[in-house]
């Protein structure tokens, strides 16, 4: 049975691999294999988040962008300018339920400028 590694150690391993020019896909495959072998697949989301945090600490930011329609290059650039990072990876998602605007999520911060959130804020004004 493999030794149980903490999520931060796993994240540090992946971040180190990426930082030193290693393959991100390979590192992630190894992590996935380890999680399956150690029966910790339920921690996957947490592990991914920890890896993103570790990467962000090293200046490599993975940002999730959610919008109602696909972003054009101009908008994408504008969004990239708002995020401070040495290396930035964008993970785009089209979700019509947000109606309009954009949701930008980075490790440690979140910018929710969607129409859906504004409507939700309006509904939260209920007594």
């Amino acid at each position: 049975m493999a030794n149980r590694l903490s999520r931060s150690k796993i994240a540090s391993y992946v971040a180190d691999e990426v930082q030193h020019g290693g393959s991100l896909d390979l590192a992630l495959q190894r992590v996935a294999g380890y999680l399956v072998e150690s029966r910790r697949t339920r921690e996957l989301t947490l592990v991914v988040r920890t890896i993103e945090d570790a990467l962000a600490a090293r200046g490599i930011v993975i940002a999730s962008i959610t919008a109602a329609q696909a972003l054009d290059s101009q908008l994408r650039e504008a969004i990239e300018k708002t995020i401070t990072a040495d290396t930035l990876y964008l993970r785009e998602k089209v979700d019509p339920s947000v109606i309009g605007g954009v949701l930008v999520e980075t490790p440690g911060s979140k910018l929710d400028a969607t129409i859906k959130r504004k409507l939700l804020a309006l509904r939260r004004a209920k007594i």
Partner: protein, 179 residues
């Protein structure tokens, strides 16, 4: 018959005594006087005392009865006076009782009125509070419903009106706001 005989003999012999002329027999007279005396004595000795005792007794009884009657009358008068006094006292007591009852009834009516007023005021206050709560609840419900309607309407309008150009403007504005 004897008298007639005596009268006839008198008319036939006018020389006899006056007693004889009157037709009185001396012996018979004496005998009758003695018999009368004996009778009187016997009556006075044995019969009259019995009657007198009876009469005395009766008289005593009558006097006793009279005294008793007088006494009874006096007692009756006294009793009547007592009854009158008792009646007077009873009437006074009854008047007092009636007066007290009236006072108590008045007091009870006043108390009942006061309690009724207090209860009515309490009910009115409760009703007002309940009404106020209902109004506040209705206002809240209206407010929430309005917000929900506004949100729904906005969602519908915005969803229908949202074009890529407008979306771009919204995103640009949001990004500018973060700077």
């Amino acid at each position: 018959m004897n008298i007639l005989t005596t009268f006839a003999s008198t008319t036939e012999a006018p020389k006899e005594s006056v007693v004889a002329a009157l037709g009185i027999d001396g012996t018979l007279l004496i005998f009758q006087i003695v018999a009368f005396g004996l009778l009187t004595f016997a009556l006075g000795k044995w019969v009259y005392p019995v009657f007198i005792r009876t009469i005395d007794k009766r008289q005593a009884m009558i006097e006793e009865s009279t005294r008793a009657a007088v006494e009874a009358e006096k007692n009756a008068a006294k009793t009547q006076a007592k009854i009158d006094k008792l009646l007077t006292e009873a009437r006074m007591e009854a008047r007092e009782i009636v007066a007290t009852a009236k006072d108590e009834a008045t007091s009870m009516v006043a108390d009942a009125e006061t309690k009724g007023k207090q209860q009515a005021e309490h009910i009115v206050t409760m009703a007002r509070e309940s009404l106020a709560k209902d109004v506040i609840a209705a206002k809240k419900a209206l407010h929430n419903e309005t917000i929900e309607l506004v949100a729904l309407a906005t969602q519908k309008v915005v969803t229908g009106a949202m074009t890529p150009a407008i979306d771009e403007k919204v995103i640009t504005k949001a990004l500018e706001a973060t700077k």
